[in-house]
């Protein structure tokens, strides 16, 4: 199937460059994980909805620090999009080039361009539903994934829990237990950064885990912890009846991480660099396989594992 055919009426007319008629003059600056993302071209309705969604992360209008990534929002006609009977969709079509990424999704088209810095452009027919239909957030996730990647980090499909000032990251595909372990950890009195997406950054002092405003159902309710925490354990999750913690061989560890690095892991032009970064991450803090049951015994196992 050709790129865009799932979502676009005229896939061949996908924008070749970031241009068009904006929705309005609203500008929104959103800061997290040490960087500012600048959105321009929003309508008043779109900006109000985004401000409500990202509330405390939005900078006041009188602050204008330079944005690390600029994202422009353009108007598109409703007839440009093909519904196919859907009322919503989480899936995307992706198309890769060495210096660009094209995204087609439900009622939107998006581009990331490296010129040479990363910039984003979003075309949508949605005004009131830009945020409620997750168009804004889904595109934002892709922008953040690439921005973080360019700085040597990785966006990991994972749950991150803070215990005694350190972060424990549990990753795996859907169904591996990220939400379950988040609930168990929260019930045991630990803060949950996110049960869905977390930023891992390799620095001179070690690996830091940073909270991102992207979470699953559990994480949206848990706004307690914020900021960056040193990574203490990195675990590939498995559900089971008894808790076990085992070392993973480096190739299996890198393969498991690769499977949980969304947006980048399918990009043929970024895959070698992604493998480099994941190898470096595993060299810093080797991934272990954690099998856990629906109780908090795994915490004792993790503490014992640290002592070994």
């Amino acid at each position: 199937m050709r790129f865009g055919e799932n979502f676009l009426t005229y896939p061949d007319l996908f924008p070749a460059r970031p241009s068009g008629e904006t929705w309005g003059d609203e500008r929104l600056l959103i800061r997290f994980a040490g960087h500012v993302y600048g959105w321009t071209g929003l309508s008043a309705t779109q900006a109000a909805a985004a401000r409500q969604r990202f509330s405390e992360l939005c900078l006041p209008p009188d602050e204008e620090p330079p944005a690390a990534v600029e994202i422009q929002v353009f108007r598109a006609a409703a007839e440009d999009f093909f519904d196919g009977g859907r009322v919503w969709s989480f899936e995307f079509d992706l198309d890769y080039a060495p210096d660009a990424l094209s995204i087609a999704g439900f009622h939107f088209m998006g581009r990331l361009d490296w010129t040479p810095g990363l910039r984003g452009a979003l075309w949508t027919s949605e005004d009131e539903r830009l945020v409620s239909h997750s168009i804004f957030e889904n595109f934002f996730r892709a922008v953040v994934a690439y921005h973080l990647f360019e700085q040597g980090g990785v966006l990991l499909h994972s749950a991150a829990v803070v215990n005694s000032g350190d972060a424990y990251v549990f990753f795996g595909p859907s169904g591996a237990g990220k939400s379950t372990i988040s609930h168990l950890s929260f019930a045991a009195g630990h803060a949950v950064l996110s049960d869905d997406m977390n930023a891992l950054r390799i620095g001179p002092a070690g690996v830091l885990v940073e909270k991102l405003p992207f979470a699953g159902d559990f994480g949206q309710q848990c706004k307690g912890a914020a900021g960056a925490y040193p990574l203490r354990a990195l675990c590939r999750l498995h559900k089971g009846s008894d808790p076990t913690l085992e070392a993973l061989r480096p190739a299996a560890a890198v393969a498991a991480l690769l499977g949980c690095a969304p947006f980048i892991n399918r990009n043929p032009y970024r895959r070698d660099q992604l493998l480099d970064q994941l190898q470096a991450l595993n060299a810093r803090l080797p991934v272990r396989a954690l099998t856990f049951a629906r109780d908090d015994r795994f915490w004792a196992l993790l503490r014992r594992g640290e002592a070994e």
Partner: protein, 52 residues
Amino acid sequence: MIATDMVLKRCADTRYRNIGGEGVVVRQTASEVLVLNEIGVRLLELRQQSAR
């Protein structure tokens, strides 16, 4: 089952990396990641040598 007269060839859409003596193979079109043990790595590297 691999037959004795079968000629093994690496798919054009794969990327391969040797990590610690084992292999990570990424199949781009299938969005699939495979881990090879030492024997799999040896087979793949022999195949690469013979293709040169």
